[in-house]
Amino acid sequence: MKDYSVWRLLEEGMRGHQGWPRAWREPAPRPAYDIVIIGGGGHGLASAYYLARVHGLTDVAVIEKGPIGLGNVGRNTTIVRSNYLYPENNRFYEKSLQLWEGLEQDLNFNVMMSQRGVLNLFHSDSQRDAFARRGNSMRLNGIDAELLDREGVRAMAPVLDFDNARFPIHGGLLQRRGGTARHDAVAWGFARAASGRGVDIIQHCEVTGIRREGGRVTGVETTRGFIGARKVGIAVAGHTSQVAAMAGLSLPVESHLLQAFVSEAVKPLLDCVVTFGAGHFYISQSDKGGLVFGGNLDGYNSYAQRGTLPVAEEVMAEGIAVVPALSRLRVLRQWAGIMDMTPDGSPLICKTPVEGLFLNGGWCYGGFKAIPGSGWCFAHTLATGEPHELNAAFTLDRFRNGRALDEKGAGPAWWAQ
């Protein structure tokens, strides 16, 4: 695999751009692999990449039922951050953010990582206290966090409504290193880099069963035949319950919808990510000029990948409360992704009761920013059979043991996270 570079661009430009090869190979599945990862989304592809790069394991296949990158990796609002309260979460997401910071050089792929800052607004004294506590927790773990007053927020984002009668803006918690990345490019970049290191990415191959002998995984049944494997990793967020059921597992997961919206493109209006603290609303402006925003879950179990109107109306109402100019814009596109919700809002990267079967899922709203960190930790777990210290808390039995990581204090209800 030749690197992308300005020299390469010139070289190919001289030849009319006829010489560019496919970014990743499309091999037929081999009869068996050391490790098979089910799911060619961000997490599965990143896991395969780090298996190859960090652990030197290349007898690896990623199996995807459709084309790669059409699930949640392409259905999010592209926000990257590590502003969590609990140490288990903020250390993990900080590792992920550090990997994001070097990802383009590492993958030799432009993922358009833009550290434009993530600003969480607060609207009351008690919310200021809660955000200050979260900021302090971040700083204790070496993560950047700044508490801005009202004028500090105004300097960053003058477009906001500071004097909303119900929700005046008192200030904000800012993580300058947070930002956005181009979501499709993340899937493509990991796929290209993993493929270049020898990982087989097998598209249009749906897993229909997980074969076990004596309590141990021996491979997966697929629409393209049986593929043997010493270890199998599940990374199919959205359909985790279905795939885990193939191995006889019932999980603390429900599938819910999360909608996202993009407006028509306008001139530069907002150069950071802003979240509204009086509801659940987040917004940023893409490089094309469209405002990308979203809000809460639809709130009922669903696999439909499309939401219903009451939540769309709620998201628009919250948007106009914080950015009144939104009322003059038209929404061009709307879609929904299927979220793997866990009862405490935190993910699962762990072993399962089936030997050789590993689980990566339960990403709730937070899957996109976690992609590199999740891949890093899942690769470690798959390669060594034991969790990395950064994902040691993301187990299935934390619910049984009373060690839930309930960042919002809302559990144990999936739709409340």
Binding site: L251, N301, A304, F399, P412
Partner: protein
């Protein structure tokens, strides 16, 4: 928009209701043990297809309504009062 036929109020928009989750789980007996309670609180079948679930009519009569709804198509097949059983969905109409 889901249209839910509340047994007390008639057909109403989803916006009047609050979702309350899987209606098939039942509380174990007091001495059933930690595993049974763990499953009751945390483990869910999460089916792709027909799902029996509770919707609380918070914007209406405030009764809990049992609803048989398809999680893939959003079709609502049946609603019932809390103490009434739902007819089991026929397998040939269950999408995969």
């Amino acid at each position: 928009m889901h249209q839910i036929d509340c047994p007390w109020c008639g057909v109403r928009d989803e916006a009047e209701f609050k979702y309350r989750g899987d209606a098939t789980v039942t509380r174990p007996a007091a001495g059933a043990g930690a595993d049974a309670f763990h499953d009751y609180v945390h483990t869910r079948a999460n089916p792709k297809g027909w799902h029996a679930e509770w919707w609380h009519h918070t914007g209406g009569c405030r009764q809990l309504v049992k609803v048989l709804r398809n999680t893939l198509t959003h079709e609502i097949r049946q609603t019932a009062r809390a103490a009434e059983p739902l007819a089991a969905p026929s397998p040939e109409t269950t999408p995969t």
